[in-house]
């Protein structure tokens, strides 16, 4: 087990380094430079500017500097567009917002998805099952960029119950729509996965034994069926996390919540490469760490897996 965790780390660390180098190379190969805008500064000023941002140094030096700054100091350097802000400032401003509704979306997706799936499985072939399955097939095929406008039409324009955007310090009214938009297709997927794995488990021998020895249904499900049924769900959490992080870009951009996704899109329009790189690397590291945690959890829960 310990050796497995160490091995997983041994894969994760080079992956993060490759990601950092890759985004640096991408940015470096961009045509033009940050200072050849409409007004090209005089040569002395340009030299000073380049010295300030370290652009006068050789290529390999710039790469090692960047990687070292990111790895050792978690410093993504200055923004190219906003003179008074560094990439770290922007991330510090946007990340808590994204984290807040991202966390709630994840909780909603898992809790609603698992309960819906379990309910459908134990009421197999009743109207509850059909309703749950029909609902999740419908919801699964609605990507977040479709959900977001539809939710705003219904709940903001027609019903007028909830604000159609903004953040306002994270009051609950402002969180609801982003969370629903982000979580819908994932809780639908989780519900379908839970249902099918639960159905499989409920037919297993040990469940029959548990029923035969007279355990109440509630106890059979909670003690015996749920844990093995959760394994496929657990392995879906990695992709779901990636999907939600990506989806948060749409949610941020559409609801103007002020999360990192909004900064990412804005900097994409402004060609603010350093901000884009910083956010890409941050998201990549989060993804890799999350997958690591899921894998370790998986190995811990499933006694059959031996590495």
């Amino acid at each position: 087990m310990f050796a497995y965790i160490v091995r997983r780390f041994a894969v994760a660390i080079p992956t993060i380094l490759i990601l950092i180098v890759l985004s640096f190379v991408l940015m470096y190969s961009a045509p033009g430079n940050p200072f050849n805008g409409e007004k090209i500064p005089p040569p002395e000023v340009l030299a000073n500017l380049q010295a300030k941002y370290g652009l006068d140094q050789p290529y390999w030096k710039q790469i090692t500097n960047y990687v070292w700054n990111v790895v050792a100091h978690f410093d993504f350097g200055p923004s190219f567009k906003y003179k008074d802000r560094s990439v770290n400032d922007i991330i510090a401003q946007g990340f808590p917002v994204t984290l807040t509704y991202g966390f709630w979306s994840f909780v909603v997706a898992v809790v609603v998805g698992v309960s819906l799936g379990v309910l459908a499985a134990i009421r197999h072939n009743t109207w509850i099952d059909y309703l749950a399955v029909g609902f999740s097939i419908g919801a699964q095929s609605l990507p977040n960029f479709v959900m977001a406008p539809v939710l705003v039409v219904v709940f903001t324009l027609w019903l007028g119950w909830l604000p159609g955007g903004g953040w306002n310090g994270g009051q609950w009214q402002y969180i609801v729509l982003p969370v629903v938009a982000l979580a819908t297709s994932y809780f639908a997927s989780i519900a379908r996965i839970t249902r099918s794995s639960m159905l499989e488990v409920m037919n297993a021998g040990f469940i029959r034994t548990a029923k035969a020895k007279g355990l109440p249904m509630r106890r059979v499900i909670w003690r015996h069926a749920l844990k093995p049924a959760m394994l496929p769900v657990l392995s879906y959490l990695g992709p779901a996390f990636v999907g939600m992080v990506t989806g948060s870009v749409v949610v941020d951009a559409y609801f103007s919540t002020g999360g990192i996704g909004q900064f990412f899109v804005n900097s994409a329009f402004n060609r603010d490469y350093s901000v884009m790189m910083g956010i890409t690397i941050l998201v990549g590291v989060l993804t890799i760490v999350f997958n690591l945690v899921v894998d370790v959890l998986y190995a811990w829960i499933d006694p059959k897996i031996r590495y």
């Binding site: 894969v11 994760a12 080079p14 992956t15 490759i18 990601l19 890759l22 985004s23 991408l26 940015m27 190969s29 961009a30 095929s141 609605l142 990507p143 960029f145 479709v146 977001a148 406008p149 705003v152 039409v153 324009l157 990636v242 992080v245 990506t246 870009v249 749409v250 951009a253 559409y254 990412f264 899109v265 994409a268 329009f269 060609r271 490469y273 884009m276 790189m277 956010i279 890409t280 998201v283 990549g284 993804t287 890799i288 997958n291």
Partner: protein
């Protein structure tokens, strides 16, 4: 002696004529596919959408760039779908014909899906087959590379690439092609591992066929079933990816459009009472996705022996 030969030839003719028609894997699969109603419906819808996206512009009154000045500024009243003024699907906020734009957007979206899927088929299949066939250290290095590439948040890197190298349809193809083959490589590698231990591969090795020929002639044809299934199931995901980027306004550029870009502009305009701007592209988007998924599921049931 001559007569002998003729009878032999006659006999041969009789035997060939009477030979029981064999049932290949593919005709078997086709029969199973046809029995699946949802899959057939999906295929028919898909065909209709493809025809619409290829030939729809010949039925349009307006081109996709033309601006109808007579309705500009009063789109919410005069721009509604009508046959009288030739805007079958209505007009967008600039007075351009939504029908022509939907035709074009559908074409681009399907094209992106197809091209990405084609890259996955060619690159992914060969990559997976090579890794699986050679095994050992080659396999290890190749598949660890895939692992590393997979854990990169490709959507962000793709947007980064589009911004750096310019937002063009070619760049979009390259970007989507770069990531689309990863899953395919994993799937075909797994399948190759089981195929390479079969007798016919052993026989090929024994008679001295080169590894390249074994992979191309003996392994890849046996992978085709699973490849077709996953290539079809990949397309909706790629269409979704492209639409996601276009929804953010970072995809194809005007005057070109895609379903995602149309959904974006429809979503931005809907508070002005022009719901058709969202409704038509969204319907085409969802129907296309559903159709591809149904066809893919049908193909899987027909071709993948595991799920039977």
């Amino acid at each position: 002696m001559f007569s002998n030969k003729t009878t032999a030839e006659d006999l041969a003719g009789v035997i060939t004529a009477a030979e029981v028609k064999g049932r290949s894997l593919w005709s078997d699969a086709a029969a199973r596919f046809v029995r699946n109603k949802a899959a057939v419906l999906g295929a028919v819808v898909l065909l209709a959408i493809t025809v619409f996206s290829l030939f729809g512009q010949y039925f349009a009154v307006w081109s996709n760039e033309e601006i109808d000045w007579s309705i500009m500024g009063k789109i919410s009243q005069a721009g509604a779908p009508s046959f009288a003024n030739g805007h079958y699907f209505g007009a967008d906020e600039l007075g351009r014909d939504l029908y022509a734009r939907t035709v074009q957007g559908t074409r681009i979206s399907i094209l992106v899906g197809m091209v990405g899927s084609l890259v996955a088929v060619v690159v992914g299949t060969l990559y997976g087959a090579i890794a699986g066939y050679f095994g050992g250290r080659v396999d290890n290095i190749m598949m660890r590379t895939v692992d590393v590439l997979m854990s990169i948040p490709f959507m962000f890197v793709l947007i980064l690439m589009l911004v750096i190298f310019g937002r063009s349809i070619v760049m979009l193809f390259i970007g989507i092609g770069l990531i689309s083959w990863l899953d395919m490589a994993r799937i075909t590698r797994g399948q190759t591992l089981t195929i390479k231990n079969k007798e016919f591969v052993e026989a090929a090795i024994a008679v001295g066929v080169s590894p390249t020929m074994i992979i191309l002639r003996h392994i890849v044809p046996n992978l085709l079933g699973i490849v077709v299934v996953y290539a079809t199931l990949l397309i909706p995901g790629l269409i979704m990816t492209e639409s996601f980027i276009s929804f953010l306004g970072l995809g194809v550029q005007e005057p070109m459009t895609s379903l995602g870009a149309l959904i974006r502009s429809g979503a931005g305009q809907m508070q002005f009472g022009v719901i058709w701007q969202l409704a038509f592209p969204l319907t085409f988007f969802l129907v296309t996705l559903f159709a591809f998924t149904f066809v893919g599921d049908g193909l899987r049931d027909a071709l993948d022996p595991k799920d039977r």
